[in-house]
Amino acid sequence: VSETTDLFEPRIYDAVYADIVVDIPLLVALMKSAGGRVLEVCCGNGRVLVPALEAGVPADGLDLSAAMLDDLKAKLAARGFTAGVFEGDMRDFSLRDRYALIVIPFNSFFHNLTQADQIGTLSCCRRHLARGGRLAIVAFHPSAPMLIKYGSGDPVPTETAYGEGKLVCWDSAAQDRVEQVQTVNRKLQYFDSAGRLEREETMSFRMRWAYKPEMELLLRVAGFARWEVRAFFTSYREPASAVSGRAPIEGDHLLYTAWNE
């Protein structure tokens, strides 16, 4: 029996992304270098924000999902951390503070499904930066082989440890390659230690990818005067490789940094 669910259900999110850790030390180092207060936009239930607070970064978080934020608040309370936790839409939020750094990790910027959404998010973040502050977005650069692989219709499996057993996540995508939107259809299969299928869950979500020159134009149109783009790491499921100094290649996870001057 397959149950329909939501990617932003904390139990499921933690299970699916349990092994997504490659970016955490890179982001924590970036946040520590901010020299002031940090806002994580799309902080969810704290995959990055909790380690950042553990490292002593003065940081707040914003997310659209009340369920994820409730889970985050419980984690913070259990650890005795204090942080601003704000429920809000990245396209249109209004906070009192101005930040030295705003980060949008893990492709979350690609939840913006229209150009107006993208520009709204960038403009809104820019308004929340202190003078000299930076916006840092981590997002993959699409690779043609990956687009072909996920768009073929054949589900692509990814395995993660789950309790004593394992979780297999099957993804296939319906792509509109001109709109740059893909609808990810995901099936989760939970297996016990003996390899028996315990249950199945399905979910669907849409993301809109962007190319590097397009991202740079979005930053320009949103009012940023200076930005840089570099390769941040190669893959969430591989050890962080040394990408520093080399030009970005397709499939890389890029770090877009834009300054509010």
């Binding site: 150009q115 650069h141 690779s143 043609a144 082989p145 687009l147 072909i148 768009g151 509109d176 390659r177 001109v178 740059q180 962007a210 190319y211 590097k212 020159p213 397009e214 740079e216 134009l217 979005l218 320009r220 149109v221 030009a247 970005p248 290649i249 397709e250 890389d252």
Partner: protein, 266 residues
């Protein structure tokens, strides 16, 4: 510095006669550009003037002139433009043809339509080149004028083709000689910078299948995605824009369609 062999290879536009033998007979877009030009009107309803940006040897421009349209042209290549001038003069057409860089040109007229045919805009290799060209063209439009750009669209399967394999792009008969001309292209692609460097070879093949002459050249083409095109037009100051996927205004839905972008000055 000693030039490497690649540096000594020129542009395909250094040999305009050869270019015309290969490509002047392309007919696929002629009716579209004629329609775009005919529908261009100036304030008061008079026929509007057309500027062909990247007109080359005049493949499209001469046909517009032949149809009685008031059209001028610019091209960055002096050999290509010289040939366009000679062809226009031979046919007795009145037209202004200037060697000029689309990123930075100054003409005395303002145009109802600027057209950028058959991937001419792909010669803008960087966002800076693209924005400068779009702004400069914008400056040369009448208040109600529009720019129309035709670009091939990049697809994942295109980017996934192996680099460096020779692709036969076009083959034609050389009239009266029994020889054929083949245009081969080795493509080296950078999907993040969105460009293709081409090493091209035009081979003249005799009746026995033997290559009797080979002409090498190289060029760079910078492809553009649809959302990027809209952002470029917006950033360059165009008031509104539309993106089509074909000559009849159909929507752009698949990468195997061409992208036809319209940008209005106001």
């Amino acid at each position: 510095m000693t030039p490497s062999p690649a540096d000594t290879v020129g542009s395909p536009y250094d040999q305009p006669e050869l270019y015309d033998l290969m490509l002047d007979s392309l007919e696929f877009d002629q009716a579209f550009w004629r329609r775009v030009a005919r529908e261009a009107t100036s304030p008061g309803g008079a026929a509007g003037a057309v500027l062909d940006v990247g007109c080359g040897t005049g493949r499209v421009l001469l046909r517009l002139l032949e149809a009685g349209i008031d059209a001028d042209g610019i091209d960055a290549s002096a050999p290509m433009l010289e040939r366009a001038r000679a062809r226009a003069a031979a046919a007795g057409y009145a037209t202004r043809l200037e060697v000029a860089d689309m990123r930075d040109f100054t003409l005395p007229r303002r145009y109802a339509r600027a057209i950028c045919t058959f991937n001419a805009f792909a010669h803008c290799e960087t966002p800076d080149d693209q924005l400068r060209a779009l702004r400069c063209i914008h400056h040369h439009l009448e208040p109600a004028g529009a720019l129309v750009v035709f670009m091939s669209y990049p697809s994942p399967s295109y980017w996934s083709e192996p680099d460096g394999d020779p692709v036969l792009e076009r083959e034609i008969e050389l009239p009266g000689s029994g020889h054929r001309l083949q245009m081969w292209d080795k493509r080296f692609k950078n999907p993040v910078a969105q460009y293709q460097r081409s090493e091209m070879e035009i081979r003249e093949i005799d009746a026995n299948g033997v290559a009797v002459a080979t002409h090498r050249s190289q060029a760079i083409q910078r492809w553009v995605y649809r959302w990027e095109m809209e952002l470029l037009l917006r950033a360059a100051g165009y008031a509104r824009w539309e993106i089509h996927g074909g000559f009849d205004g159909e929507p752009l839905e698949r990468p195997d369609q061409p992208m036809i972008a319209w940008g209005w000055r106001s």
